[in-house]
Each structure stands twice: as structure tokens, then as C-alpha cells.
Symmetry: C2
Subunit: 271 residues, 2 copies
Amino acid sequence: MPTIIPIEDPEDPRIAAYRDVRERDLVGRDGQFIAEGAVVVRSLVEAERHRALSLLIADKRVEALAPLLAKLPEGTPVYTAGQAVLDRIVGFALHRGILALGEKAPMPSVADLLAGTGARARVVMLFGIGNHDNLGGIFRNAAAFGADGVILDSGCCDPLYRKAIRVSVGATLLVPTARLEAGEDPLALLDRAGFQAVALSPAGAEPLSALAPPPRAALLFGSEGPGLPPALLAGSRTVRIPMTGSFDSLNVATTSGIVLHHFAADPEQSR
Amino acid sequence: MPTIIPIEDPEDPRIAAYRDVRERDLVGRDGQFIAEGAVVVRSLVEAERHRALSLLIADKRVEALAPLLAKLPEGTPVYTAGQAVLDRIVGFALHRGILALGEKAPMPSVADLLAGTGARARVVMLFGIGNHDNLGGIFRNAAAFGADGVILDSGCCDPLYRKAIRVSVGATLLVPTARLEAGEDPLALLDRAGFQAVALSPAGAEPLSALAPPPRAALLFGSEGPGLPPALLAGSRTVRIPMTGSFDSLNVATTSGIVLHHFAADPEQSR
């Protein structure tokens, strides 16, 4: 059971980590993160990957959130406050009425993530996705279609940034994630782990609908403007999503949904 | 050729329509709308559906935008201003440096939109999509996959709201759009026009991948929470997108992309 601690003073040092959430988002939280909203906080607590250090909730929501609070490890502080104090703490109107402070779990290496997958596996590999909406949307799709992991290059933004978590509806807390280290060759890592690299590009050689998904596939996506680096395209099987001539741009999160849906072979089984 | 008119004073009455853009967005513009960014303004000008009443651009961008400006009808006012004046006019830092004031063209009736399509046609029909990001994303997908039109119920937000236009990358200015009138029966209208109604629902009877697209199809989407009304589901062919058990929610714009991709039969031809 958690420990309920009422907070009356927005300056209370015990809730310092929740103060001025937006400004803090910008400077970063050094191994910690903020999760927002009941659905997302439930993912954080139930997944047990990252640790919920504490919660801050509107006192009027304590009763409704009791089942969630009961799942917290013994002694986890749950700070409660009236809506006015809450809004002053976080610096905006916190309609969702629930925040959690999380401690990031260490990420596995890319090699370990790949090695931990089964005989049939799909991982998503992202290059230069710097927009939290897009990153969150891709994770949401990865979770929806049961991808085994998401691998990020150094140009991708933080999947545990508050907005990315929220847009992903908590999926960034659930889907196994790894980040390429400087000097790691993504195609060599995939090849060694028996994954076929399938790269999405408007100039891809095959239309997606004609592609028979290989048993172990890595789906490579770049950002909307520059796309994937030529070296990655040259070393991958390239696939395109045909579009009408006059308008040839899809959002990268939507693209990932289309591709993951196509790769979710034998869909009836995964239902 | 347009008429270039330098503006020095943010209070100049000639650019009143551009003042405090965000606040104005909230009260509505009564038959007018603001389009933002070069790509979007180009769609507005080239599509010639809605009328560009005037442009407001950063003076440093006049040269780069000359090809676009040359396409404006004779005499269209193009107001120019330095970045500081521009930012004071609109009320925020206008990085994109280009706005247009548009006049909404009248919408066709739903019956006329449907009647104007060919033997093979896809229209998107939306119910209760009140979020501008989602609406814009759906229009973007509709344009990318060559849908013949988007039909909105009264619960959908305005596709010509600035943010919806921007998220759609201008597609809301391009894709034929109609809105259901009070008392109109969407299924009866579709039936009369020879369209098969295909409704997306997590509890749909058929998986999407098993569906052979009919020649004339209307693709029905509801909002993420409530979904489509039971009466519409009962009168439609219902389709689901199978997902993994633990996480069963897709964003509605992503869903529309997946469905439109599936329905873009014979994709090679439309490329």
C-alpha cells in the first residue's frame, strides 16, 4: 500500500520534482521522468520496468484511483493536493489530476534487445525522429501491433519525455527500447542477429503490399524531411507505400502503422 | 501579379484580419480562415477552390516566395513586414513567415459530392472527430491515397481551422469536403449513391486484411473513445484491425491511413 501525504504548500520540498513541469521538461530530469494521466501511470506501475518513485494526484481523485494506488510497492509516497495547489505546483491547469515521477530503468544494448526476441520478430528502428508526437505515435503503433522492440539512433528524441509518453498512451513505458551507441553499425547488428532490414522510402524498390514479411524483420524509418541515410537504404530491402501523384507525403507515425499492420501476419492469431 | 504593400505599424487596419491569430482562432472567422506556411499557402493558391484574399509575409521571404506570389490573381494584396512587426501582428513568433487569409468556398451537399465521383471511388466519412490533429491527419491520408472526398458529421471540427490545415499539410484545402445536414441519414445517402458503407470498429466482424475492397466504398470512422454510433455499425459492413491483446488502441488518423492503404487497390496504377 502507498503512503498518502497531503500537500498544502506548493513550495513543499517533498514535491520539488513536480514543480514547473514544463520548464523542467526543457532542462531534462537526469534519469527521471514525469508520466501524466491515469492510463499512462497505470502502464508505468503495471509494467514494473521503470520505478514509480512517487505520485502526485488531485485529492478528489484518491478514491477513484484506489485500485491503481493499491498496486504501488509498499511505502511509495502518494502526494495529494487540492486542484488549486496542484495547478500552482505544476504551473498549468492539470486537468488529468495525476502525475508520477519515474526513475528510468537502464536500456539494454541493441544486441541484447535483438537477441532476446523469438523466431518470429519485428523490431522498429528509427533514425532522426526528433518530434515527440511522431515518436510517441510510432511507439503506440509498435505496442498495438506487438512489435518486439524499438531501436533509436542518436538523432531520436527521448521516448520518456512527458509528451512522448502521453502521445504513445504509455507505450514508451512498455515496448522494449534500445539506443544505438556511437560507432555501432545498425545493419551489421541486424545481420548478426538474423534480422532482415526493411527500409521505408518514397523511392523504395517494392510496394509494401507485395512484400511477404520475413520471419525476423527490422523496419527502418527516417524523419519526414531527409528520410533514411543513403548508406542504410543501400544495405536494406527498400519498400515504398504508393501514393497518388499530386500528394506524396505521409506522416511517419502513420507510415509505421501501415507497415506494422502489413507485417502483423496471421493477424487472427494475435487477436 | 500581386500588389506588394509594406506594413510598418502592427495596428494598421489593412492587416486587422491577421492580428492576434490564436485568439481569433478561438472565436472563429465567419467564412474566412488563416493558412500558415509556404506549402499550405501554395495548396491554397494552386487549388483555386477557396479564394486567397491576401497574404502576410516576412519581407525577407519576398524573393524566395516570388514563384508562389506570381500565381496569385492580379491585384491580390501581399502585405510584407519585418519579423518584429510580423510577430507583434500575429501575437507569437511566426517562424514560418507566411500567412494567407482565405475565403471559404461553399461546400457541396453530401449527395452532390457522392454523385460527382467515378465508378471506382472511396470517400471517408467521419463522426465526432473533434480533435484538429486527428482531423488534419485523416485529411492528409485521404489526399495521400487519393480519396474522392471527406464527409463530416456535425460533431467534427472545422477542417479549415488553422491547426487542422497545418497538420493536414494543406490537404483540407484540396480534398473535396461536405458536411451532413441535420436530419440527413448518412447510410441512406450512401446507399442511394451506390456506395458500400464500411465501418471501422474494434469489434468489427471481419479483419481488414481479409476484405476485398468494393468498387465504391465509404469508410466510416468514429472518435477514439466512443467510436461509431450503434445504428451506423448495424447498417454497415464492420471491419476491425486486429491488435495484440495487451494494447488495443490505435489513433484514429493512423487507423484511417491503414484502411486507406488497404483500399488503395491496384496501388501501382495510382503511383
